[in-house]
């Protein structure tokens, strides 16, 4: 991060390769739209790049910095569009495009559809806590840095969300 701050494009490319997928995944699962996710993710990385000269090394991991920018960018995006999360099937339709085997593709599509629908049953805070933790791979401490909520509160959100998901999966025979 320090090298990138001092203008190293190689360092920024490294950060991009490390963080783009988790950031994109977070944006995608929050917007449920691949096109918007592509645009917003690029906006986020441009914002980070432009803000690098002002970046200060704190206790927070660089990943938290990227996700804080991502979160604010999504909120701004929703504000501009004047609506909340749009739940569409697009997240499912494109999710497994890269799978080679058609059977695997269908199966994964079904599974992702189930996950997406299940996430849709959560509150916005619960969904964010689950997506950040288990889909983007942030630690509870990092989620706390990004959202401004206490770690205990994050775990509580995750705990309740997991219960809801467990019930949903069970009711839909997605797991035993």
């Amino acid at each position: 991060m320090e090298d990138a701050k001092h203008g190293s494009q190689e360092a920024f490319t490294l950060l991009y390769n490390l963080y783009f997928t988790p950031v994109w995944r977070y944006v995608y699962l929050r917007t449920k739209n691949r096109g918007e996710a592509d645009d917003l993710a690029q906006t986020i990385f441009l914002k980070v790049y432009k803000s690098l000269p002002r970046y200060r090394n704190t206790d927070a991991a660089p990943l938290s910095y990227f996700f804080t920018v991502a979160r604010n960018t999504i909120i701004d995006h929703w504000r501009k569009k004047s609506h909340g999360v749009i739940y569409s099937d697009e997240a499912v339709n494109h999710a497994s495009d890269t799978q080679a085997d058609p059977n695997d593709k269908v199966k994964q599509k079904e599974d992702q559809e189930m996950i997406t629908k299940a996430l849709g049953t959560l509150t916005e805070d619960q969904e964010e806590a689950i997506v950040l933790r288990f889909m983007s791979g942030l630690s509870t401490k990092e989620i706390s840095d990004v959202t401004g909520k206490r770690e205990d509160a994050i775990r509580q959100l995750q705990s309740r969300a997991l219960k809801v998901l467990r019930t949903y999966f069970k009711d839909n025979n997605f797991m035993a």
Partner: protein
């Protein structure tokens, strides 16, 4: 063992999961099927997440954007428009043919040798001139001339 797990138990398990303790060690001591099921939920979500990924060629577009950052033309315009406007007006009054000074009464001093050029440049047939350097017509305060595309200038005394 079927029961609804307490939030505390799940939160404790999540804390251990955060700390990198393997699921087997977290669930094992409790031998709790519901807790195990909770981790199955996590595993399913984590597995599906790996299939959700972007097209990485966006890096190229991003780096292209970075190397030629998009500038907001309006911010440049906001600054430059008044400057350019003032400069153009100033240059017009300072440099337009035959003109050197605008007096308070808005009467223009026009050098006699540049009247034809002045007329051409101003695309007008009427120029206000001071009564200086026009032979004996010292009392001409307002005069007009015609520009017939030649060097011949005819002055008219507006008082006639």
């Amino acid at each position: 063992m079927k029961h609804q797990l307490s939030d505390n138990l799940i939160e404790e398990a999540l804390k251990k999961h955060d700390a990198g303790i393997p699921t087997g060690e977290i669930v094992g001591p409790h031998d709790d099927q519901e807790l195990l099921a909770m981790f199955e939920v996590i595993e399913k979500i984590e597995n599906e997440a790996t299939g959700i990924k972007p097209e990485m060629e966006t890096l190229h577009a991003l780096l292209k954007n970075i190397s030629t950052p998009t500038k907001n033309p309006w911010s440049w315009m906001k600054i430059m428009t008044p400057i350019v406007g003032i400069a153009v007006v100033a240059l017009f009054f300072i440099w337009h043919p035959g003109r050197t000074v605008i007096q308070n009464d808005q009467t223009a001093f026009v050098e006699p040798t540049t009247l034809a050029e002045t007329a051409k440049a101003m695309e007008t047939q009427f120029v206000y001139v001071e009564p200086a350097n026009y032979g004996n017509e010292a009392d001409i305060s307002l005069a007009s001339f015609t520009n017939d595309q030649s060097d011949t200038i005819t002055l008219y005394d507006s008082t006639l």
